[in-house]
């Protein structure tokens, strides 16, 4: 119970009222950063980092990590209301969140998302409190082959069950891979598909693409369908929070699964984005309501949020114990630690007890504070949908453009965003799925480099993917996921008189 007494010590660090003030300032800034697409947690924290110079390290990390929690919460808001993911990890939240808003259930979706975030973070911080040393060792097991196996599992768990025609899924995914390949290639150091253009050097940023595909694409669709938001008749009252909470307990199995997926992806630096996709895919496959996913299921909103927040929180664990950042934002915080004169790594827990436990205590309090802040705003945000389309659409477009520009401070990205908007519109019209394209764009690059690193290490021998129990089981699990519909059908045939096929087709 040493952890418990240290934690109580941590809470006493927080007793300084200034630290509580920094926490609320951080949460509020973070929610704003999360709402603005493009200005992600990593950018937001990086911009504010020098401001924390004159603070003590404890106050500084409390404020910056609160920005991070706020951004994790805030990403869900625009995803649900306008189909614009404010952060990469809230893309999966749009799949059911936006349809719910269109059905007039925006309040319910927001409450589900925020509560899910809170559950995920809470699970992860319990893990950090009690299992930090054990988990930290686990992260070291991950070499290139293991990383590739994790990315493969994300693809397979997401793809093996689409309702869309398989060839359309493959076409969308290949386009995503092609776009992800533009820019510098880490493994050879060569430029690819830049055609001598300076603007293409930076490649296609996932965020710019997503803002266009989802945000601008959605506005184009709405314009065609009659210049009005569906779901503006949403009834708004504060009780929606409690009504939604009453529905959540029955999803506990799914929440637990998503939290485990999230923590695992956060610790092995897979990150929050793959965690949310994987969790959504798994929920779709295993839930009783899996067929209704994509049409506005509360479960489809809660699960990716649980996973994303669990991953985002547990990403701090390898950062603190090993000095490896588990997410881009964690990477910036890591830089912060060095600037404040702290050395992240195995000795931080021993040498800087006050700092570490103050931070962990602030994760507990920060998330409770965050939940209170965002839940009280649910009615306000839900009311935004009542504003006439002709007023809100130009505002959204401007926010999208600002967001696309902010990602790399590049004017051309606004044009790229508009082009992606048209692509998003065409995809919807032709009934191509957007999710595989987005997934390939965000993970394609990382999956490719880890595959090629693994091939370098093994000198071209594919058996490296079964060279130890860890990587072998992940790869096998991924292949089972991919071929699940076929495996399911075969099992049915082998078992005559079995129940009706529950195939995920």
């Amino acid at each position: 119970m040493e952890a418990l007494s240290s934690l109580i010590g941590g809470f006493s660090v927080l007793a300084d009222p200034m630290n509580i003030v920094y926490m609320f300032v951080g949460i509020t800034l973070g929610v704003l950063i999360g709402v603005l697409p493009g200005l992600g947690g990593a950018n937001g924290v990086a911009i504010l980092l020098p401001l924390t110079f004159s603070m003590t390290p404890v106050s500084a990390i409390i404020m910056l990590s609160s920005i991070y929690w706020g951004a994790l919460f805030g990403g869900a808001i625009t995803s649900i209301l306008f189909n614009i993911p404010g952060e990469p990890w809230s893309v999966a939240t749009t799949f059911d969140g936006h349809p719910m808003a269109q059905k007039g259930k925006a309040g319910e979706a927001l409450t589900g998302a925020f509560t899910g975030s809170f559950i995920g973070a809470f699970f992860a911080v319990l893990l950090i409190t009690f299992l930090a040393p054990v988990i930290a060792k686990f992260a070291l097991q991950f070499g290139p082959a293991e990383f590739f196996a994790v990315y493969l599992l994300t693809f397979c768990s997401f793809v093996g069950m689409g309702k869309e025609p398989p060839f359309k899924v493959i076409a969308a995914m290949m386009l995503g891979f092609a776009l992800a390949a533009v820019g510098i290639d880490t493994v050879t150091g060569q430029l690819r598909m830049t055609f001598g253009s300076v603007e293409l050097l930076r490649g296609f940023d996932f965020l710019v693409a997503v803002i266009g595909l989802f945000g601008v694409g959605e506005i184009l669709l709405t314009m065609e369908e009659g210049l009005a938001f569906k779901g503006k008749s949403a009834s708004i009252n504060a009780r929606v929070v409690f009504q939604t909470w009453a529905k959540l307990p029955k999803y506990w199995v799914g929440c637990l699964r998503s939290a485990i997926v999230g923590c695992w992806m956060g610790v092995t630096p897979g990150g929050a984005t793959p965690a949310s996709f994987m969790s959504y895919g798994l929920a779709k496959k295993f839930s009783k309501n899996g067929r209704n996913f994509g049409k506005g299921e509360l479960e489809g909103v809660v699960m990716p949020e649980v996973a994303a927040h669990a991953a985002g929180t547990s990403a701090l664990l390898p950062m603190l114990t090993l000095g490896i950042p588990g997410s881009p934002t964690a990477a910036v915080l890591l830089g912060g630690l060095l600037i404040w004169g702290l050395q992240p790594g195995p000795l931080l827990f021993v040498e800087q007890k006050d700092f570490v436990w103050g931070l962990i205590a602030s994760i507990y309090l920060g998330n409770i504070a965050g939940l209170i802040v965002v839940l009280t705003t649910v009615p306000i945000f839900a009311a935004i949908l009542r504003i006439p389309f002709s007023v809100i659409a130009p505002i959204i477009l401007v926010i999208c453009a600002v967001g696309a520009y902010t990602v790399h401070n590049a004017g051309l990205d606004i044009a790229v965003m508009l082009i992606f908007g048209v692509i998003g519109y065409l995809f919807k019209k032709l009934n191509y799925p957007l999710a595989p394209l987005v997934l390939a764009l965000v993970l394609g690059d990382m999956a490719e480099s880890s595959f090629r690193q693994a091939m370098l290490v093994s000198q071209g021998n594919l058996s490296i993917f079964w060279s130890n129990p860890l990587v072998g089981s992940i790869v096998t699990l991924a292949l089972v996921m991919l071929f699940w519909p076929i495996i399911g059908a075969v099992m049915q045939r082998l078992r005559p008189g079995g129940e009706k096929p529950a195939a995920a087709e």
Partner: protein, 337 residues
């Protein structure tokens, strides 16, 4: 009485007015008139980014500038995006860039058209060291043992060197070791230095040439051990880092029997056609930055080589470094055709 006060007042106003007119004449020095962009040709969280944000914080805390400084990452194309931006901003004194070795390596490896002398050199801030690291469980404790084990490694399982990026500083050093020893590594490129150190701890690669700051925490925790430093002299830092060793106890690679030297530039450049006064302003600014206790502590934590040059010495150093990189890259076959 009243009159004399009034006249004194009038006199002082006149004096103030004269002073106001004189001031700009007296100090012809240029000063920024709007926000200065500080370009980092690398992603957030890396070594150059950390240094840039550290500088931004020091300037802000000590009020060293009358305008604000914003850090902007332009990492596309191994940093080419940032350098091309500065190269194309001639006559814009409100933009500076911090460089890494990619200033020399990126144009050679990718063929993107920029060179160090396309920009105006301002000041060298420091040089970053490279250390040869191995896992603490490795059976050898010095370079000799390492080289012997490397030579004895079977052909189908050669030593694996982990490094940051491809055809950049880490791989250049790797290639230099290969040329000295005649044995090949498998070079495995990763995205960042922190990843490389963790991969070495996990035993996924055999060795790395991480910068001190990237691997120091793993060294102190007894997970990694340093074999030698790729500098001409031992590091000057005598404070103990682990129970037994300080940075200064690490032998140079040359004295340990591996005659290779490599240091990475951390320097500042301005766009082309900057005037002498503008360069002067930034030279002074960074001189003040380097004198702050925060900077000195940062240098010590990261075991930097604190050589700092300006003016013709800096330009001469750059010319020499560019030539060295060209030779190293050509010998390793890294130059784009």
């Amino acid at each position: 009485m009243k009159l004399s006060i009034a006249s004194a007042f009038r006199k002082s106003v006149a004096a103030a007015a004269v002073a106001a007119v004189m001031a700009p004449l007296g100090a012809l020095a240029w000063e920024p008139t709007k926000t200065v962009e500080f370009i980092v040709p690398a992603g957030t969280g890396g070594g150059a980014d950390q240094m840039a944000r550290m500088i931004q914080g020091i300037i802000q805390k000590n009020n060293l500038m009358n305008q604000s400084l914003v850090v902007i990452n332009k990492s596309g194309g191994a940093g080419a995006e940032g350098f091309l931006d500065v190269k194309g901003s001639a006559n814009n004194p409100h933009k500076i860039i911090i460089s890494l070795s990619n200033l020399f390596t990126t144009p050679l490896a990718t063929g993107v058209p920029f060179k160090w002398d396309d920009m105006t050199p301002v000041s060298m801030l420091a040089l970053d060291e490279f250390v040869l690291w191995v896992n603490a469980k490795a059976p050898y404790d010095d370079v000799k043992g390492f080289l012997a084990a490397m030579a004895a490694a079977p052909a189908d399982a050669p030593f694996k060197m982990g490094g940051t990026g491809s055809k950049q500083e880490d791989q250049i050093i790797t290639a230099a070791i290969e040329q000295k020893t005649g044995k090949k590594f498998i070079y495995v490129p990763y995205k960042g230095g922190g990843d490389v150190a963790a991969q070495l701890v996990g035993g996924h690669v055999t060795a790395s040439v991480n910068n001190p700051i990237e691997a120091v925490s793993q060294w102190r925790a007894g997970e990694l051990k340093p074999l030698c430093v790729f500098d001409e002299q031992r590091l000057p830092y005598k404070e103990p880092v682990t129970a037994k060793m300080s940075w200064g106890d690490i032998p140079t690679c040359k004295e340990a029997g591996l005659d290779i030297e490599y240091l990475m530039l951390r320097g500042i450049f301005m766009p082309p056609k900057a005037t002498k006064e503008q360069v002067e302003y930034f030279v002074n600014l960074f001189k003040k930055v380097r004198e702050t206790p925060e900077w000195k502590e940062f240098m010590q934590k990261g075991a930097f080589n604190t050589t700092a040059l300006t003016g013709p010495e800096y330009t001469a150093w750059l010319g020499k470094a560019a030539a060295t990189h060209k030779t190293l890259m050509e010998n390793a076959g890294f130059v784009a055709k």
